[in-house]
Symmetry: C2
């Protein structure tokens, strides 16, 4: 899962570990806590071994600090890596629908085709609906076997499930009806747009809030 996240971020720009981690933390808000270095560096090693990323010498131009030897290692994605990333994006296993996996996939939705987006949203919805049904079951059947605190925990969980299902319904219905992201209008929304995709193989284009 982290594999997908790293590949996705490196597709935007080459980065070193520390930067990668911060980017990970801001983009994968909730649904995925900040990654640990004890995970990050071994994963980078693994990805390098698999040939999906490579180290780019940091000595040269753009990156100013860490002048001396043993400076930071900048990673960039390879052609095979981009291929692998595209595969991972469309393939959806069971781990795609848990909190972490869904969060990562959702983060890259602007680089995912609409069919896949729908498949993932619906898979996630099913997952949460199952959890919700389980909780309802418990609250209906075993309520008198549980103490008040446990009960309240279940209720809170049920609330969260129902809320997420509604959120997903809204997203799904938006996906079906043309406008891609297009959620309810908010005051702080800017029409400012961000970085060019620097020669993406598959630019899915609908990337804006309003056409």
């Amino acid at each position: 899962m982290l594999e997908l996240a790293i590949l996705g971020l490196l597709q935007e720009a080459p980065m070193h570990g520390y930067e990668l981690r911060k980017e990970l933390a801001t983009k994968l808000g909730t649904l995925r806590a900040a990654i640990s270095y004890g995970t990050l560096y071994p994963t980078l090693k693994r990805l390098k071994l698999a040939g999906w990323i490579s180290e780019a010498e940091a000595n040269s131009d753009i990156i100013p600090p860490m002048t001396s030897k043993r400076g930071r290692v900048v990673y960039k994605i390879t052609a095979e890596g981009k291929e692998h990333f595209a595969d991972l994006l469309t393939q959806a296993g069971p781990e795609t629908y848990d909190d972490a996996g869904f969060g990562v996939h959702f983060t890259f939705f602007s680089r995912t085709d609409r069919a896949t987006r729908l498949r993932i949203l619906e898979g996630r919805r099913r997952r949460i609906e199952e959890r919700r049904e389980g909780l309802r079951e418990i609250l209906a059947r075993a309520a008198d076997r549980l103490d008040a605190y446990t009960l309240e925990l279940q209720r809170h969980g049920l609330d969260a499930c129902e809320r997420e299902v509604r959120w997903l319904e809204e997203l799904i219905s938006n996906e079906r009806s043309g406008r891609t992201p297009a959620f309810r209008q908010r005051a702080e929304s800017q029409r400012a747009e961000n970085q060019r995709p620097e020669s993406n193989p598959e630019p899915p284009r609908p990337h804006l809030d309003r056409p």
Copy 2:
């Protein structure tokens, strides 16, 4: 963390692994997915080695099925185990405030003294507030650097945080003002009450919805 959960369940009654897992799944709804056997059995082994639980022969009376040899192993908590459980209940480390840890602690709140309950609720609130502030920061500062999907994910996360903080506020205020669990009235609430605490060392007593 799982250690605490197992000890707590075995304090209620002796159980075998399978039963333990189902009980775990129903009581720790959300905030902690169903535990895997690949976790459960090694943990049971560890706890047995530590002297906190022991195997009770299942051959005899109460438990009917699995007549032949190589039948289920029933675990029961030891005196040292009860002591350790009491310790774990009051000690609150950082892991007490993440989703899993908080869920487990909350589940045993009816066996926790009020001071500890308050400490844990406030610790959890602080944790969620920090996450919330982080998200607000991102939405205020980096909004134009993020695409619409990522943004929507952050908003949803922020919503969930705010909601949980409100929930915690309510719980905290309830704790402070006498009535212990006592949440907002609901239609399906029964006044039926459950199992006797079978000689608890510290019966905290206020266990009902309404006095």
